[in-house]
């Protein structure tokens, strides 16, 4: 479903702020793979996700989503294949527009936007149904501005918007990191539920090792711009945190500072 072939990315090449974020990333995801991504600060997790989303062009390599080479497509064109939830709850929604308008925008991802009215009554009912499933009471606040919602509510809404039109690939970029632990757990549960129900292919960055182990059917660990650990299936089910650290040390050839990993 996703084929990342040897991509590399250096920011600000030739300047004092030059930073090589991705050295050589190789990753193939099968349809239905729910892959968690961990790694320390500056390992290249977010850069990889943003490269897939097309936030910037890559220096080398190709990216295919669902068999389509998207390497040269701009961000807004890749959006038709992708659902995205960001770390910052502010990023995923338009604060000055109301809930139903935000959902209507998401419903038209990848569609032509013409001079038809921006939201129909039929859609409204559908959105109400979808919001009810979140169990946050948002179905009664559809005309409220999204800026009035809490961070957790906004992330839940963003998640719903990302999957309203079934994406070929769902990208979750530490989408629970900015939330309090209780809300984070709830949003994570919700993500898992949606991914299972819609049988989505998903890539989820997390700073929490236990979450990375508990969720998904596959786990990758990144280090210095490469994928250094990749476990799936039965092996992943049996994985413990100690195993994970051992795997990392073997791959990276150095002691793992787990604090660093957790805090990133």
């Amino acid at each position: 479903m996703l084929k990342i072939n040897h991509i590399a990315k250096t920011f600000n090449p030739g300047t004092i702020t030059e930073k090589t974020a991705l050295v050589d990333v190789q990753l193939h995801l099968l349809p239905g793979d729910f892959t968690t991504v961990i790694g320390g600060n500056g390992a290249g997790k977010s850069t990889m996700l943003n490269a897939v989303a097309g936030v910037f062009p890559v220096d080398k390599g190709t990216i295919e989503i669902g068999g389509v080479d998207v390497t040269n497509l701009p961000e807004f064109k890749r959006a038709q294949y992708l659902g995205r939830v960001f770390q910052d709850p502010m990023t995923g929604t338009a604060a000055t527009m109301n809930i139903e308008e935000n959902m209507a925008l998401a419903m038209r991802r990848g569609q032509h936007r013409g001079l038809k009215w921006g939201i129909s009554n039929m859609e409204r009912e559908m959105y109400r149904e979808q919001l009810r499933k979140l169990d946050l009471g948002l179905e009664d606040r559809m005309a409220s501005k999204v800026g009035l919602l809490s961070g957790g509510q906004r992330q839940a809404l963003t998640l719903l918007m990302a999957t309203l039109r079934t994406p070929k690939l769902l990208l979750l970029d530490e989408h629970t990191a900015a939330l309090d632990p209780k809300t984070a757990a709830k949003v994570l549960e919700l993500s898992d539920k949606i991914i299972r129900e819609q049988k989505l292919t998903a890539l989820m960055i997390t700073h929490n090792m236990q979450d990375a182990i508990d969720y998904g059917n596959r786990l990758i660990m990144m280090h210095e711009g490469r994928v250094v650990v990749d476990v799936a299936g039965e092996e992943k089910k049996k994985l413990t945190r100690a195993d994970l650290m051992g795997l990392f040390e073997k791959a990276a050839g150095q002691q793992l500072n787990s604090d660093k990993l957790l805090l990133s």
């Binding site: 959006a79 960001f86 338009a94 527009m97 925008l105 990848g110 936007r113 009215w117 939201i119 906004r154």
Partner: protein, 303 residues
């Protein structure tokens, strides 16, 4: 300081305010909806006036001249938009560049003259200051009310469409808009075109109203437009929530601005000091949210 003089000047001030209200609605599209500060307007308002004046003098129908002014204004917006998106120049600088270029263009349009007379005696004009105090349909206020209402209705419709919603999303959150498949560059250009088209249209009306087009008629237009937007928001912000009403508030803001100007002039302010006063008033209003946040903020939980 005869009060009669003030009263006599009021209808003209209202009409002028309404023309600037149309301009301010155009500015609202970039400033508030797209969140782009577009300085093109100082040039494009004069372009609208110049185009309409020259076409009317050359025998064009007044409505056709207005339409032409609108289209040429959109072209000015297109240039700024391409400077900004295609060339990557910051929006504010893009507008300044276009504005400067338009100065030459406007002189060219007017046959290398700094101003062109457009007398109501010779041509069939839509609005003229001469009829400001006439009771009847030829009063400019009548036609301007219709213009304002029509513009607000059209914009209300447009920003409710799928395309219009995507434009609002572009202004609200560009990252989100792109993630939802919206081409934010195209939308920014489109918004700048629409805005400058409307601004040029108001320029075309202004030239008719004052009886001439002048290459300098747009100087400080952005500040007057901002004043209208801000006054509208301060006075009507609490009661006007609907998008259409917000646009109406902008139009009313411009009228209030011209009424206040009329009063301070009547009180004896030197006309030459007007722009200084306007700039200071707008600066204070623009600074208010910053001051409020910095010095008067109560600790609030951010969402």
């Amino acid at each position: 300081m005869e009060i009669v003089k003030l009263f006599n000047a009021m209808p003209g001030a209202v009409a002028q305010g309404m023309i600037w209200g149309l301009m301010a609605i155009g500015l609202y599209i970039t400033y508030r909806i797209l969140e782009v500060s577009d300085l093109t307007v100082d040039g494009s308002i004069a372009t609208g006036g110049a185009v309409a004046a020259m076409l009317i003098i050359n025998g064009w129908d007044v409505w056709a001249a207005l339409l032409a002014a609108f289209v040429v204004g959109m072209l000015a917006g297109l240039v700024t938009g391409l400077f900004h998106t295609f060339c990557g120049i910051p929006a504010i600088l893009s507008g300044i560049l276009t504005q400067l270029a338009l100065y030459s263009v406007n002189l060219r349009i007017m046959g290398n003259k700094a101003n062109v007379a457009l007398s109501v005696n010779k041509y069939g004009l839509l609005v003229t200051s001469r009829n400001s105090r006439v009771l009847g349909l030829q009063n400019p206020i009548v036609i301007l009310v219709l213009f304002t209402a029509a513009l607000i209705l059209v914009l209300y419709w447009f920003f409710g469409t799928e395309l219009g919603c995507s434009l609002r999303a572009t202004g609200a959150n560009r990252a989100m808009a792109r993630a939802q498949g919206i081409n934010t560059s195209t939308n920014t250009v489109l918004g700048l075109m629409l805005s400058n088209g409307i601004v040029a249209l108001s320029g075309a009306l202004l030239a008719q109203f004052q009886g001439f087009a002048d290459v300098g008629m747009g100087r400080g237009a952005i500040v007057i437009g901002l004043a209208a937007v801000i006054i509208g928001e301060v006075v009507f912000g609490k009661i006007f929530r609907n998008f259409g009403l917000k646009l109406l508030a902008v139009a009313l803001g411009a009228i209030l601005y011209y009424l206040v100007i009329q009063v301070v002039l009547w009180l004896g302010l030197n006309t030459n000091d007007l722009k200084l006063l306007t700039a200071l008033v707008v600066a204070v209003f623009l600074a208010t949210p910053h001051w409020r946040a910095k010095y008067f903020s109560k600790k609030k939980g951010g969402a």
